[in-house]
C-alpha cells in the first residue's frame, strides 16, 4: 500500500470524534480507577481522594496469595485443555469446504456469545442430580445412585473450557487457515504419514500461533466472573469475583481498584507476550 497523501480518503478531523469518545469514556475511567486505587476508603462505600498505598500493601497477605494461586492455576489448566483440543479442531476445520466451515463457525460463535450466566446454568443442569449425567451413569449402572457433580473444581474447569474452547478456535483460525496447504502436501508426497505430517510440519510451523493462543485463552478465562460462583465453591473464587465482591458488597472501592490495576498489568503483559509469540512465525 503506498502512503501517498492522496490515498487517505478520510479527512484528518474525522479522527477527532472517536479520539474524544475513547479518551472520555475509556481512558478517563482507567485514570480515575488508578487514582482511586491509592485513595482512602470511605465508610459510606465511596472514596476520599488521597495517597494511601495501603490497598497495594494488602497484596502481601496470605489471602491474596491464595486468590492469585487459585485464579492462575484454574485458568492455566483450562487454557491448556482448550488449546490442546482446539488446535487439531482448527486444522481439520480449515481443510473443510466453505459451507461446512461457515456452519461450524456459526455454532462456535453462538456458544461464544452466550452469556456466562446461561452457560453456568446449562452446565449446572447437565451436572445436576435430577437432570444431568449423574442420571445417565446411574441408568447405565456405573454408579449406585444419581449424584450431582456441581459445585466442584471439576465443574468449574469444565465451564472454563466450555467458554475458552470456541475462543481458542477463533484465535487459532486465521494463522491456521493461512498456512500453505502445499507444505503439508509436500510432506505427504515425501512419504510422511498423517500424524507425522501433523506433528512434524503443521505444529512446528505454527508454534508461535499456538503459544499466542494459549496466552490469550488464559487471559480470557482469567476474566471469567460468573462461572466460579455458579460452578465452583467459595474457595474457587477467582480474582475477578473478589474484585466485584470488594466493590459491590464490601464497599471497598480502593482495594477493588488496586486488584483491578494489578489484574490489568498481568493481562497487558500477557497480551504483549502473546503478540510477540504470534509474530514469531504466524505472520509469515
Amino acid at each position: 500500500m503506498s502512503g501517498a497523501p492522496s490515498h487517505t480518503v478520510a479527512p484528518r478531523w474525522l479522527g477527532l470524534w472517536p479520539a474524544v469518545m475513547l479518551t472520555l469514556f475509556f481512558l478517563a475511567p482507567f485514570g480515575i480507577m488508578l487514582a482511586v486505587s491509592v485513595a482512602k476508603r470511605d465508610a459510606s462505600g465511596f472514596y476520599e481522594w488521597g495517597f494511601d498505598p495501603g490497598s497495594y500493601a494488602r497484596f502481601m497477605s496470605a489471602f491474596f496469595a491464595k486468590v492469585m494461586a487459585v485464579s492462575l492455576s484454574v485458568s492455566l489448566a483450562a487454557a491448556a485443555i482448550c488449546v490442546a483440543l482446539a488446535f487439531p479442531f482448527t486444522v481439520f476445520l480449515a481443510s473443510l469446504g466453505h459451507r461446512m466451515q461457515t456452519l461450524v463457525l456459526v455454532v462456535l460463535l453462538s456458544v461464544l456469545a452466550l452469556s456466562e450466566v446461561i452457560i453456568g446454568f446449562s452446565l449446572s443442569t447437565l451436572l445436576s442430580q435430577t437432570a444431568g449425567i449423574g442420571n445417565l451413569f446411574h441408568w447405565l449402572g456405573l454408579i449406585d445412585a444419581p449424584r450431582a457433580y456441581t459445585p466442584s473444581l471439576f465443574a468449574l474447569i469444565t465451564g472454563l473450557c466450555y467458554i475458552g474452547f470456541p475462543f481458542a478456535v477463533l484465535v487459532l483460525y486465521p494463522p491456521v487457515s493461512r498456512l500453505d496447504p502445499e507444505i503439508v502436501e509436500a510432506a505427504r508426497v515425501m512419504g510422511a504419514s498423517g500424524p507425522s505430517a501433523f506433528f512434524g510440519v503443521i505444529v512446528p510451523n505454527l508454534r508461535g500461533a499456538i503459544m499466542g493462543a494459549f496466552i490469550l485463552v488464559f487471559v480470557f478465562t482469567l476474566g471469567s466472573y460468573l462461572l466460579p460462583q455458579l460452578l465452583g465453591r467459595s474457595e474457587h473464587w477467582t480474582l475477578s469475583v473478589h474484585i466485584t465482591d470488594q466493590a459491590v458488597y464490601q464497599s471497598n472501592l480502593p482495594f477493588a481498584a488496586a486488584m483491578s490495576v494489578f489484574l490489568m498489568l498481568v493481562a497487558l503483559a500477557l497480551v504483549g507476550l502473546a503478540s510477540l509469540a504470534g509474530r514469531d512465525k504466524g505472520a509469515a
Binding site: 500500500m1 492522496s6 490515498h7 487517505t8 480518503v9 478520510a10 484528518r12 474525522l14 479522527g15 470524534w17 472517536p18 479520539a19 475513547l22 469514556f25 475509556f26 481512558l27 478517563a28 475511567p29 480515575i32 480507577m33 465511596f46 479442531f89 481439520f92 469446504g97 466451515q101 461457515t102 456459526v106 455454532v107 462456535l108 456458544v111 456469545a113 452466550l114 456466562e116 450466566v117 446461561i118 452457560i119 446454568f121 446449562s122 435430577t130 437432570a131 466450555y162 474452547f165 470456541p166 483460525y173 487457515s177 493461512r178 498423517g194 501433523f198 480470557f220 476474566g223 466472573y225 475477578s240 466485584t244 466493590a247 459491590v248 472501592l253 481498584a257 483491578s260 490489568m264 497480551v271
Partner: protein, 266 residues
Amino acid sequence: MSKTLKITYIFAILALLLAPLVVVAAVSLNGPQSLRFPPSDLSLRWYAELFAQSEWLVPLRHSLVIALLAAAVAVLIALPLALYAWGRQGLAARLLTGMGLAPFALPPVISALGFMIFWMTFGGYGQIWATIISHGIFLVTLPLVTISLGLRGIDHALIESARVMGANRWVVFRSVILPLLLPYIVSGYAFAFVLSLNEYIIAYMVAGFTVETLPVKIFNALRYGYTPILAVVSVIFVAMSALIFGLIGRFGNLPRLMGAERSQRD
C-alpha cells in the same frame, strides 16, 4: 488422517458443546415447576409464562434497548476510527486503533470497575444511558475489526478513478466506499448487538440494581432456585444468537470475517 476421522472429531466436540444446551431445551418443556431430564408432562406453558410476567418482560425490554443503542454507539465510534486509520501510518492512527482494541483484550471486570467508578464520580451510576455508553465503548472493538477488514478489501484504483472523474471525498465515501462497506458495518453491528445482549458484568456494576438486564435477572433468579423459565430464556438467547450468526454466515462471508484469507464462496 482420513477425512472421516477429521469430521468425526469436529462433530464429537460440537456435540459436547451442544449437550448442555440440548438438556436445557428439553428441561424448558417440563410441565411441572421442576428441572427434570427427560422432561415430564411436556408443555409449552413456561414459554407463555415468560411473556406474561412483567418480572421477566421488563429486563427483556431493558436488554433489547441497551443492545440496540449500544451497538449503534459502537458503530458510530468505530466507523470514523476505521476510516481515519485506513492508509494512515502515523502514531495517532496507531494509538487510536490500539485504544479501540484494548477494551476487549482485557478481562471485562477491569472495564466494569472503571465504568462503575467513573459513573459514580460524575453521576449516571444506575442510569440506563450509562450502561448504553459503557457497552458501546466496550464493544467498539467488534465493528472496528469488521470495518477495517472491509476497508482492506477495497481496491484503491476504484477510489482513484472516482477522484479523477471529479468526485470529492464525500461523494467518494457515499457512492463508492459506503456500499462496499455496508455488509461489514452490518455484521459489526450484529456482533456488538449479540454481545451486549449477553453481557453481564458491566451491566451489573454500572446499573445492576436499578436497570436489570436479562442476564442480571437470570443470575438473581438462580439464587432463589431453578424454574423452567430460566431454561426458556436460555433457549431464546441461544436461538437468537444462532439466528443472527446464521444470517451473517448466509449473506456474508463468515470464514473471511473470522480471518481466513483463502476461503472462497462456492
